[in-house]
Symmetry: C4
Subunit: 131 residues, 4 copies
Amino acid sequence: MKADRAIGARRWIIPDGYIPPASSGTLESHESVCVLNTSDRDAHLRFTIYFEDREPLENIPYVVPARRTKHIRTSSLRGDGGRSIPAGVPYAIEGESDIPVVVQYSRMDSTQAENALMSVVAYPVREGEGQ
Amino acid sequence: MKADRAIGARRWIIPDGYIPPASSGTLESHESVCVLNTSDRDAHLRFTIYFEDREPLENIPYVVPARRTKHIRTSSLRGDGGRSIPAGVPYAIEGESDIPVVVQYSRMDSTQAENALMSVVAYPVREGEGQ
Amino acid sequence: MKADRAIGARRWIIPDGYIPPASSGTLESHESVCVLNTSDRDAHLRFTIYFEDREPLENIPYVVPARRTKHIRTSSLRGDGGRSIPAGVPYAIEGESDIPVVVQYSRMDSTQAENALMSVVAYPVREGEGQ
Amino acid sequence: MKADRAIGARRWIIPDGYIPPASSGTLESHESVCVLNTSDRDAHLRFTIYFEDREPLENIPYVVPARRTKHIRTSSLRGDGGRSIPAGVPYAIEGESDIPVVVQYSRMDSTQAENALMSVVAYPVREGEGQ
């Protein structure tokens, strides 16, 4: 077994978040924030959700265990007081982790009868940026 | 509340812009330029639109408030004299901001009966590049 | 009018090239290599096409004029002796330019009745890399 | 013929892997890991597959010949004891190569009657990162 080192970045940005409010067919519209933790330590993440017209939803916690990936449904995230991300509203995601991880964002939209997909590797914030 | 610092880049490039001229079904074909401003200051952007066969459309202003995201429909942008981006024409987008922001571009095409999606994180121009 | 400087990179890579051999509906399956030249000089590009099982197709020329974008259909590219990229064959694209440009790759696939889209910003080769 | 130098990175990450378990129409749901080797030496890759709830599948070998691309179906990869990646399970991909290569990941999903596409350039791990 090779050495397991944390790789990636500690802070990631996804500007285009949107939970499609409708689904049709056999697949449900959804978004996934896919996180890979290659290290042998658990990664403790906190998400901040930014909106167009209201204050951010902060400090949403999530743990990605050592040497595991988690494909996190955005609709499952819960902030203070159990607040979740509303469907049908444009928003943006910031993820912060105590150790480096790698983050990809994908959306499946099945509003109309067939599904559509989009995906990006999130924007990695480099050390020293924004300080 | 954590410290709010501007992160990202001051200049972003999206080479593949195209407003699909047709829509069908319940969703309208459109593009969004999604901007996240994590700082506690407003970001003042200017867009330049490049074409294949004519002079660029310059100095289109847009404000993204502090700690907010804006998912900007490209069809809503207005340059000098109220000029807008024509549909059905290949073009490219350059965005400049007075403070760092993060930019993602997404297109929904519903020309044919079901929708299709594509998305990219825009190309961030690094400080010192192009000078 | 602002100063026009070349931005981006001189070498770009797109590993996943594929011209879908079939189309249906009103839109034709195709790929576009979208290039933005922000400078006030013309950009002279050369494309190399790599395959899975044969020698590369080299030295395909293309000019992107100053302050213009070109959305280049891959099926329109012509190498030595008029050779073009065959449809239905996996391949990869390398683009080199005499001045920095920015490159995005998009594919529309309308093999089945509705269209599907994918897009990536190409991989920018940094100065000094690969030398 | 120009000089052939290895470009890209030796380590690449794709957090969102998923083999759709169903297909319909004329196209089969699948993923491709598209690798370009621009050098005049063969590239020897090893893939590691990370899961949400079990130990990684390690040391899956693959060779990409000199000056060739390979668009590798993930369902064709075989690890120790002939183990393959199960369909319908979220996972993540790490690819390591003895020389620099460039990697793009694409998924075609034809679960519902028409196909959907998504694609990303994989996250390139920079030299010195994760050490």
